[in-house]
């Protein structure tokens, strides 16, 4: 009797609210998917169907064959991947320097990094466009990578600086007492401990670059278009091509989901292991 009672409490206090929240969170994804596999007659029909009467994959076929969606996907992957690598490398080294060394202008640099992120990106649009144009890199992936690093690096430096400040100096000092150089101590001691933080920061950089639109719409053309701009082309003045847009949306979230699936293990393992033991 008591067991049944506690089961009921569990259901109403835990599982029911959890189910409602999950439904609330997942329904948009479900609806996006269902819309992408509906035939046009159902999609634009007056009767709402929660599961299509005829499941069709025409929109996916159209997306890849007629709309050539592979191209923006490749561009997005290239831009987001390179931006992540460049930003991580630069910000990791910068954050280490800011965290471990005391040098003149350190605080001013840190504040400058922060103020950079305070400017709305639209303010930077015209100057950056002009710079990219005169450098001759407009409409190439380099233009996007460079402009993305202008806001991913400062943020990542602050993020990694916070992690590094929490790491006790004694870690490297112990290694250096044992005869390691500063770089060896960094590579062999700090870097492995930093990996979960790098994964988290990298995920942020990747996601930001993957979804960024404001710069992408101006700094790319048909050959270098990224996913957000390609998808926005489906939203016209007089109507929206829901079939292609939702199919594109589903395809877009797949790489991000896969990335998180792998990153999550690292992230959780690293975070729960702790830095200093004993």
């Amino acid at each position: 009797m008591k067991k049944r009672h506690s089961g009921l409490i569990d259901f109403f206090a835990l599982y029911l609210p959890l189910g409602v929240i999950l439904l609330f969170l997942l329904f948009p994804f479900y609806w996006t998917f269902v819309t992408s596999i509906k035939p046009k007659s159902e999609l634009y029909g007056s009767v709402v169907t929660y599961w299509p009467q005829n499941v069709v994959f025409d929109s996916y076929h159209k997306l890849f064959v007629d709309f050539n969606f592979i191209k923006p996907m490749g561009n997005s992957l290239l831009v987001a991947g390179v931006t992540t690598l460049v930003s991580l490398l630069v910000s990791m080294l910068a954050a280490y320097a800011f965290s471990r060394f005391r040098f003149p202008g350190r605080k001013i640099f840190m504040i400058m990094f922060l103020t950079n992120n305070m400017f709305p990106t639209v303010l930077l649009l015209i100057p950056l466009y002009s710079i990219m144009r005169s450098m001759g890199i407009l409409y190439t992936p380099i233009a996007l990578i460079l402009s993305y690093t202008t806001f991913t690096i400062p943020f990542s430096v602050w993020l990694l600086n916070g992690y590094l400040n929490d790491l006790p100096k004694s870690l490297e000092e112990a290694a250096m007492v044992d005869g390691a150089s500063r770089s060896q101590a960094f590579l062999r001691i700090i870097f492995p401990v930093l990996i979960p933080c790098l994964v988290a920061t990298g995920a942020y950089i990747f996601m930001t670059s993957w979804n960024e639109y404001t710069f992408a719409v101006l700094f790319t053309n048909e050959t270098s278009r990224t996913i957000p701009v390609a998808l926005k082309n489906l939203i016209g003045q007089l109507g929206v091509q829901w079939d292609l847009l939702t199919a594109g949306g589903i395809i877009t979230i797949i790489p991000v989901c896969i990335m998180f699936f792998f990153a999550q293990k690292r992230l959780v393992a690293g975070l729960t292991a702790g830095a200093v033991k004993g």
């Binding site: 007629d66 466009y129 001759g136 770089s183 939203i235």
Partner: protein, 429 residues
């Protein structure tokens, strides 16, 4: 330690040199391509910005570009640059590119953005090109006049391309059930709104409303027809005639000839109400005709907003092309613009996308004349107009108009008070 420093320095130097080299390389490419275009055998390259409303539009536009490049006979090569409409952000992107020195030669354009571009001297006046253009008279004078009115310097910066003209959609079966014909005058239209409002199943509740009022954003366009029908105008919203037009609009709602949700109804709602049979008439343009025919077949018709002795007006949606003052090939750019306005491009675009042509010749073509909605759109062209293009217009459309109309429809303010508020907000008195 010093080894690590060296390695880091090398990496940084390598990264810097790659970036610089990439810049130099692309820079030299652009210089050489510029030099190339100046040599006699190389084509004159034009860049044209375009926003698609569907991927079909992109394909049609690309086919037109290919056709122009193959047939212009002047070695002009148009390169299409596609940018998303993005709720009007397109114009802002175009402005940013132009201010950053990367303006295209020509671009698809909306007239409401003209003051922003002309204030920064980005657009080329087209008067001298149009005056000596053989197809000048193929476009109605009223259209030139409307496009000229958007700037105060009396120059024409916009080349007409296509329009979307509002007209009345109606359900012939409902007209038949009410025993009425298409209204010939504005007075008849108002009466028909009342006659069409019916309780079809005898339960004491209205099942069909005569007219689907759009009281939310975007409703100022059909609303304008009521104001002008009484002799009012946007130039003087507080005149007795304008106030009477507003009173007609309020009366329709308060007499129960429009759905109770009308004060909040936007585009989607008026179309859904019409398509579900809740309303017998509503005002929209040709963009929704395909869906209407899919839904009703022959049981949907259209007529131009009826005439009135005091005045007649309907709203014109617009798409133009512009030439940028930075273009180095202006003659070639005008050649391309005229291909779009009156040449083969005009016919292809309008026939395939269902937009209303601006060329009188194309308007008379069987492909256009056989389309009943196209025919009605063209019928409305001579009295179609636009809202005044002012600094206040966007805010007026998005905020002032919906809020004021809502209050007026719900009886919180009188027609006179509403028109005074609208006039004040539009002209910032």
């Amino acid at each position: 330690m010093s080894g690590c420093k060296k390695a880091l320095t090398m990496i940084l130097a390598f990264a810097l040199s790659i970036t610089t080299l990439a810049g130099c390389q692309s820079g030299s490419q652009s210089i050489s391509s510029a030099a190339k275009s100046e040599s006699p055998n190389q084509p004159i390259v034009l860049k044209h910005w375009f926003w698609p409303d569907s991927d079909m539009h992109t394909q049609v536009m690309q086919s037109m570009v290919d056709d122009f490049n193959a047939t212009n006979g002047k070695n002009i090569k148009v390169e299409l640059e596609i940018h998303p409409w993005d709720g009007g952000q397109y114009s802002q992107d175009l402005f940013t590119a132009a201010m950053g020195g990367g303006a295209p030669d020509t671009a698809g354009f909306k007239l409401t953005s003209t003051p922003l571009f002309t204030a920064n001297h980005l657009l080329e006046p087209l008067d001298s090109y149009i005056d000596s253009w053989e197809d000048k008279d193929d476009i109605q004078d009223t259209l030139y006049k409307t496009l000229r009115s958007v700037t105060k310097d009396d120059n024409l910066y916009l080349m007409p391309w296509n329009t979307q003209i509002l007209y009345v959609y109606y359900r012939p079966s409902m007209f038949q059930a009410a025993g009425i014909d298409i209204p010939k005058t504005y007075e008849e239209f108002l009466q028909d709104c009342r006659k069409l409002t019916r309780d079809t199943n005898g339960d004491g509740k209205t099942d069909v409303y005569g007219y689907g009022i759009r009281g939310s954003k975007g409703g100022q366009e059909p609303w304008g027809s009521f104001i002008y029908a009484r002799g009012g105008s946007f130039d003087n919203l507080t005149s007795d005639a304008s106030i009477q037009g507003m009173q007609d609009f309020i009366d329709l709602f308060q007499d129960g000839c429009a759905p109770p949700s009308a004060p909040n109804d936007g585009f989607n709602e008026i179309i859904a109400n019409f398509q579900s049979g809740l309303t017998a008439m509503t005002i929209q343009h040709i963009g929704t005709s395909v869906n209407m025919v899919e839904k009703f077949g022959d049981d949907v018709g259209a007529f131009a907003f009826p005439d009135s002795p005091q005045g007649r007006w309907t709203s014109m949606g617009d798409t133009e092309t512009v030439m940028f003052s930075s273009s180095k090939n202006k003659e070639a750019a005008f050649e391309w613009m005229s291909y779009l306005a009156t040449g083969a491009g005009q016919k292809t675009w309008c026939v395939k996308t269902g937009n209303v042509p601006v060329s009188k010749t194309v308007q008379q073509m069987p492909e256009i004349q056989n389309n009943r909605f196209m025919k009605i759109s063209i019928e409305g062209a001579p009295f179609a107009g636009i809202l005044p293009v002012l600094d206040t217009t966007t805010d007026w459309i998005n905020n002032t108009w919906p809020a004021t109309i809502q209050a007026a429809l719900l009886g919180k303010i009188t027609a006179k008070e509403a028109m005074e508020q609208l006039d004040k907000a539009l002209y910032s008195k």
